[in-house]
């Protein structure tokens, strides 16, 4: 029983991190209807930049963190302007493939700059784990959880109350109507990419802290697809809740099914859940229901 609770708590904490990366996907999807499959690479890049700032520039963590956010912001702007804007109105396969291509470019460049070797972060967060009495939360996961919750609340508030957030919601709802109300849809698109990149680099820094970084860290980005499909592609709250559910289910699979089939099921669980959701309820828990019977 103890181990069950422990696994659920770990799952919850992992789920928080998934939720944060899912937030990156959702922010971009919500405003621009683009699913950015290069998200995993954004994440890795963020972790590498933060690490370089910490080690090479000897910057304190908060400075490195801000630097990484600025980098993400610039990256989002540049990519939106150079690659995504020419593709507005193109078929969906072009848009998806262009983000995959982008992911390959980023991955290759990171491989050139930082070499494929595995690295670990210096201690940023106090290494003391959180003792809950009935379970233990490792420090990395705990801080990941905290970051995820803070990030979500900030983004939710921006979306709910700020002028920019309202413009973004309007654009997501109806681009033409938004344009005619004087909202610069281009600006909103650029901003959405910038926000999405920022959310994912925070996720990257957190994951880098927990399990170290290598060029291949970006594969987690694909796992997070299950989270956003479960939560609903355009729901911020759904992304976070989906993150928790997938995190817990993944860890439970690791506990109960892995011994039965000899390992590997844990990494597979998100994809199997993904297929089931797509068959049963493709719009997810909180996604916009688009009913089309063809």
């Amino acid at each position: 029983m103890d181990i069950l609770i422990q696994v659920i708590v770990t799952g919850l904490a992992t789920g928080g991190v998934y939720g944060l990366i899912a937030l990156g996907f959702v922010l971009i999807y919500k405003a621009t209807s683009v699913l950015n499959l290069a998200m995993g690479e954004f994440m890795t890049l963020g972790a590498f930049v933060c690490l370089t700032a910490l080690l090479q520039l000897k910057a304190p963590f908060y400075l490195a963190f801000i630097l990484t956010l600025l980098m993400a912001c610039a990256l989002g702007f540049v990519i939106e302007r150079l690659i995504l804007r020419p593709l507005i109105g193109e078929p969906i396969i072009s848009v998806i493939m262009v983000t995959i291509g982008l992911g390959l470019i980023l991955k290759g460049l990171m491989y050139m700059i930082w070499t494929p070797s595995f690295r670990t972060f210096p201690e940023i967060f106090p290494p003391k784990p959180l003792l809950l009495g009935f379970a233990v939360v490792p420090s990395g996961l705990l801080w990941g959880f905290v970051f995820a919750i803070i990030g979500t609340i900030i983004f939710l508030l921006i979306f709910k109350f700020s002028r920019t957030g309202i413009a973004m919601r309007a654009t997501a709802n109806d681009q033409q109507a938004a344009l005619s109300m004087g909202i610069s849809v281009r600006w909103v698109f650029a901003l959405a990419w910038c926000f999405g990149a920022m959310a994912s680099v925070i996720g990257g820094i957190v994951i880098g802290n927990i399990s170290g970084i290598s060029v291949y860290m970006g594969d987690i980005g694909l796992k997070v697809l299950a989270v956003i499909i479960l939560g609903g592609l355009d729901s911020i709250g759904g992304a976070i809740l989906g993150g928790f559910i997938i995190g817990i289910l993944e860890n439970l699979t690791g506990l109960y099914i892995d011994p039965l089939i000899g390992g590997g099921a844990k990494g597979m669980a998100p994809f199997i859940i993904l297929v089931i959701i797509l068959m049963v309820r493709p719009y997810g828990l909180f996604g916009k229901e688009l009913i089309e019977r063809v």
Partner: protein, 347 residues
């Protein structure tokens, strides 16, 4: 348009060989294909074989993605299913290679239809994610169903033969590849101008209208998945028989992306484009390898840069083609052809 080239019937308009000129050049090209193995070295024949397998897989994917408009990020999984089917039938059940090929295609087609079932409910982005999940699930099965696939150790496959004639070397295998490529391309080219091909295009252009004019979406979408996976299965079976070994490493996610890159760079919805794309994408890494050897000779120590370079160039090609030439190499080819057709009086 060329002078005096009037088409009076639809049948005339849909002809594959539109003029004597085309027939002549195609004939010449076939002569070249037949002479090629006698003059080329083993390395070039190896590359030619690889291009052949890529063409079969790409033509299949183009039928699904280019013509029917259903995105599949899991093509490598079907290639894997075909490859494993053939390998297991040959080594376990003692099938001959020739019989195992159609079975590889059929089992892959069956797998494709299962993955295609969500396409009736979800489309676009969601279908893309569903096929992506299928890719990872199949990859997982290849590794973990050890009693059948022997896991990561893989299966060794004997060379195919007819009677006493063995197909071991690149040169001997070239004939098998050539046969299947001609068969596959010929079938696809004819399929797209048949009733089925027109139905595919109708579904791609607007599924709602297609349904209204009486196209059974269920049937045609699943057929598209089945045919495309059949091609993938055959390509996989040939490929691993050529390599003489099959392991799960042969079918990673990046291979699916490679296939998609081939049809995008070649040209979506064009059989000729699939061929161009397959040749282009197969040759690019080979060229990079050459370049890396040159660099190794003149500036040793710097050749490591070519390992990630492959991915960067690959990604760049996809992005650049999508942004600047979305209709791919086939469109460039058409433009060149049209330029020379009326040259020097183009107006």
């Amino acid at each position: 348009m060329r002078c005096g080239d009037f088409k009076e019937t639809y049948i005339k308009d849909e002809e594959i060989f539109q003029s004597l000129f085309v027939k002549f050049w195609l004939g010449l090209f076939f002569v070249f294909l037949i002479i090629f193995p006698f003059v080329a070295s083993a390395y070039y024949l190896y590359v030619a074989n690889m291009i052949g397998f890529a063409i079969i897989g790409t033509v299949g994917l183009n039928l699904l993605t280019g013509f029917t408009g259903q995105i599949s990020l899991g093509h490598a999984a079907f290639v894997g299913v075909g490859a494993y089917t053939s390998a297991i039938l040959v080594t376990r059940l003692g099938f001959s290679f020739w019989l195992s090929i159609p079975f590889a295609g059929l089992i892959a087609a069956f797998a494709g239809m299962i993955i295609g079932i969500p396409s009736l409910r979800v489309k676009g982005l969601y279908l893309c994610i569903a096929t992506l999940a299928a890719q990872f699930i199949f990859e997982f099965v290849f590794i973990h169903w050890e009693s059948l696939t022997k896991g990561i150790t893989g299966i060794n496959i004997p060379a195919p033969s007819i009677g006493s004639l063995q197909f071991v070397t690149e040169k001997e295998f070239y004939w098998i590849t050539l046969f299947f490529v001609v068969l596959g391309v010929g079938y696809a080219r004819n399929l797209v101008r048949s009733r089925m091909g027109r139905a595919f295009v109708a579904i791609r252009d607007r599924d709602l209208s297609a349904e209204i004019i009486g196209i059974n979406l269920f049937r045609y979408k699943l057929s598209a998945f089945a045919i495309s996976s059949f091609y993938a299965g055959v390509a996989g079976a040939l490929w691993v028989t050529f390599l003489k070994v099959v392991t799960p490493d042969h079918f990673p996610f990046i291979l699916s992306i490679q296939y998609l890159a081939m049809i995008i760079i070649g040209g979506l919805g064009s059989t000729l484009g699939s061929i161009f794309g397959a040749i282009f994408i197969t040759l690019t890494p080979e060229l990079l390898n050459h370049l890396s050897e040159v660099v190794k000779a003149y500036a040793p120590g710097h050749e490591e840069i070519f390992v990630p370079m492959k991915e960067v160039i690959f990604g760049l090609l996809i992005v650049l083609f999508l942004v600047f030439e979305p209709r791919g190499l086939a469109e460039i080819w058409n433009r060149i052809k049209n330029f020379f057709r009326l040259w020097p009086f183009s107006y």
